[in-house]
Symmetry: C2
Subunit: 429 residues, 2 copies
């Protein structure tokens, strides 16, 4: 049977998963692929740590360039992460005409267009299924399964840490800090969870999805809000209104203008995305022909990510076997950038939680200021709570522009009957 040589760069969690998957399921992969994937070399700075899998002596080395240069390595798998040496080695591999499989979302979000150009110039493949959604085959679905469609919109729950925290905050009525501590204790959150919590990990992934659908979107064009300032109070109010709060990547093409934003979002309880709990991820894609489809699974972790990396390796290997690389290349990525919609111009429904002085006529002032900006009210909730100086009043609005909402809130928050900055959440129905 024909052999295809694989070289790994980076022997961390995912790298060990890839080795384990090849060892456990190599036979069935070979049967389906018509060739055997053979692990030739792994490069990592740490030659001694126990990763729970055994590799033959001489396979694990320190020199990534040597892995790339090895004539027996046909597919280079980059699992280093980050945008430093990973970028250097991916470029080196592509320039040597070797096909690359990577799980590196930061690298693609920041340098995707550049790397896809290099791949094209050297007629090499670059597959990146595991960069978004871990074990969920969303990237390949956009590449091939939905090939006959234009994408209208995508909604993604793309960060398992955030989703776990939000689930626990709701189910156990925990404050954010406690839920985060629990996520860390359970191994679902890093010791330094900054990139997850502040929404930037989700933004990286949103950038990749948007670029596949519409052409290169750069990271700084993505509006990002994290979950760090969310309170269990708003989570419970959302439930009262029939919504669940999720950190959502929202990607839309409306009249040729693309918007990409990441923020806590209220989703109706009956919506499929509202049922995505714990560390699971999901992406809903709305297309002109396929309609709404949704893809759900584990967004991270050793085994699920390895499954996706292996499926990419199999694709690239097949391309090598038939001497025809770049099957369904991601053309959009190298097209001209799409027209972007500035954040002020997006429209949304809003949840507003106001702290209002408990006196007659106050709500009339608020609704007047909203009305001035053409923002109409869908529902209001004021519970009979306590006797403090200020009472919480929650308003759900109909659709309004972000700019109108900001202007109204500036004026509202300047009123002397308003006791604190108004909490604003966006709603997607």
């Amino acid at each position: 049977m024909k052999e295809i040589g694989v070289g790994l760069l980076g022997f961390g969690t995912v790298g060990a998963g890839v080795v384990e998957c090849l060892q456990n399921n190599g036979d069935v992969i070979a049967e389906r692929l018509g060739a055997r994937l053979v692990l030739r070399k792994i490069a990592d700075v740490d030659l001694v740590r126990d990763r729970g899998v055994k590799v033959p002596a001489g396979v694990l080395i320190k020199d990534a360039a040597a892995v790339i240069a090895d004539p027996q390595v046909q597919v280079v798998v980059e699992l280093i992460g980050g945008t430093g040496v990973a970028r250097k080695f991916v470029t080196m591999a592509l320039e040597a005409g070797k096909s690359v499989v990577t799980a590196n979302k930061a690298l693609l979000a920041k340098h995707g267009a550049e790397l896809f150009k290099i791949a094209e110039e050297h007629n090499a493949d670059i597959h990146f299924g595991a960069s978004v959604g871990g074990g969920i085959p969303i990237i390949r679905t956009l590449r091939s399964g939905l090939i006959a469609n234009h994408v209208n919109s995508m909604y993604g729950i793309l960060n398992g840490t955030c989703n776990y925290i939000l689930t626990r905050m709701e189910q156990e009525k925990l404050p954010f800090d406690k839920a985060l501590a629990e996520a860390q204790a359970a191994g679902y959150a890093e010791a330094n969870p900054g990139l997850d919590i502040d929404g930037h990990d989700t933004a990286h992934k949103a950038t990749i999805l948007a670029s596949m659908a519409y052409g290169p979107v750069s990271l700084d064009q993505v509006y990002v809000e994290g979950i760090g300032s969310l309170t269990d109070v708003d989570i419970q109010y959302a439930l009262d209104f029939g919504y669940r709060i999720k950190l959502l990547a929202v990607i839309k093409n409306i009249d040729g203008k693309v918007e990409v934003r990441v923020h806590p979002t209220m989703v109706p309880l009956g919506h499929m995305l509202a049922s995505v709990n714990g560390v699971f991820n999901a992406v809903m894609v709305d297309c002109d022909f396929a309609g709404r489809t949704l893809y759900y699974g584990r967004g991270a972790g050793r085994a699920p990510t390895a499954s996706t990396v292996l499926s990419d390796i199999a694709d690239v290997a097949k391309n090598l076997m038939v001497k025809a690389p770049r099957r369904f290349p991601v053309l959009q990525y190298t097209l001209k950038p799409p027209m972007m919609r500035p954040m002020g111009e997006i429209t949304s429904r809003y949840y507003l939680r106001l702290a209002l002085k408990n006196q007659a006529g106050v709500l009339a002032k608020i609704t007047a200021l909203l009305g001035e900006q053409d923002i109409s009210i869908a529902s209001v909730l004021q519970k009979e709570i306590g006797t403090g100086a200020h009472v919480p009043v929650v308003i759900l609005t109909h659709k309004a522009s972000e700019a109108a909402c900001s202007t109204a809130l500036q004026k509202i928050d300047a009123l002397d009957v308003v006791g604190a900055k108004t909490i604003k959440l966006r709603i997607e129905d």
Copy 2:
């Protein structure tokens, strides 16, 4: 730009959708594929009916064999349905070395293994993405996205008509007949909905999914129960216990024995499958590496099905362009049949609704008969209802074998304190 000639057999709803998709999105498909898909010929018995799309004069003809024989037709798309002439023409196309795309679940469920053999002998492709799940790319995901995995189990909501009826029965507390009539009025159910309601459409699809994962399963190895005898009473009881009833295809491989069954199933409300409402379909796949993934979308309809047919045509076209057919062929289908687990040996949790005489000691008799068969009780619900001769008592059991449950129910139903045949539903947690 290179052209790939496409011939359609059958110009019904899906055929018209395929033509419309090619007309609307042909440019973007060409850009992504690197070749233009050109509709050469369509065969249909009806040359005059208006399908809402225009085709050039001379394209629509009556003679399917002439479409297949046309040297300009490289991909034959079978959209006739059924197992009569469809089987004949698919065989004819494959034997002529032409690649086939089909949406025909009945054909594959009944003659899949035979057709895959013919395709293999003639080095031709046979793609069938639209045979299961309409617009959901589940077939290609099993082929390639999950290539590195063994499948532990699959759960599918695969019939939109049934799912719509169950959703309406629950939401509007409608009896079955009214919900069916509503589905027919809304165009979601055929005038003759037999194949849908009795579970056989779902069984066709389950046969295909199981055969892809484990080797050829024949339709008569599938246990099938439809939704025709379901009552809104049981739907409401299920809700009381925190479950929703779905017509589920359950496919499992436990210790090397495969079980494939289709029946109304209680699914926990928090489970993703419980959120699949209305005409939508979904498949949950549990794999050794990818873990649980789920695929959701419209399971039928002109545009979603066309989207999947076109993605198959694109794949087959690409294979022709690179002169390398049979990329990731469905090997399992031509392997030896798997060991099947007889229905009596499957294990499940059960919901039992009994009609019991309202007198002391009756429940003790029931639990004793269950206990004799090693069936232990998880919970019991008896509401204070009316003063009739018999009261409904609902029991949820722990896991037991189907044979044990049947034996116990035979004995229970023979008791003179039992007023009607006990209703049994299976539970999947």
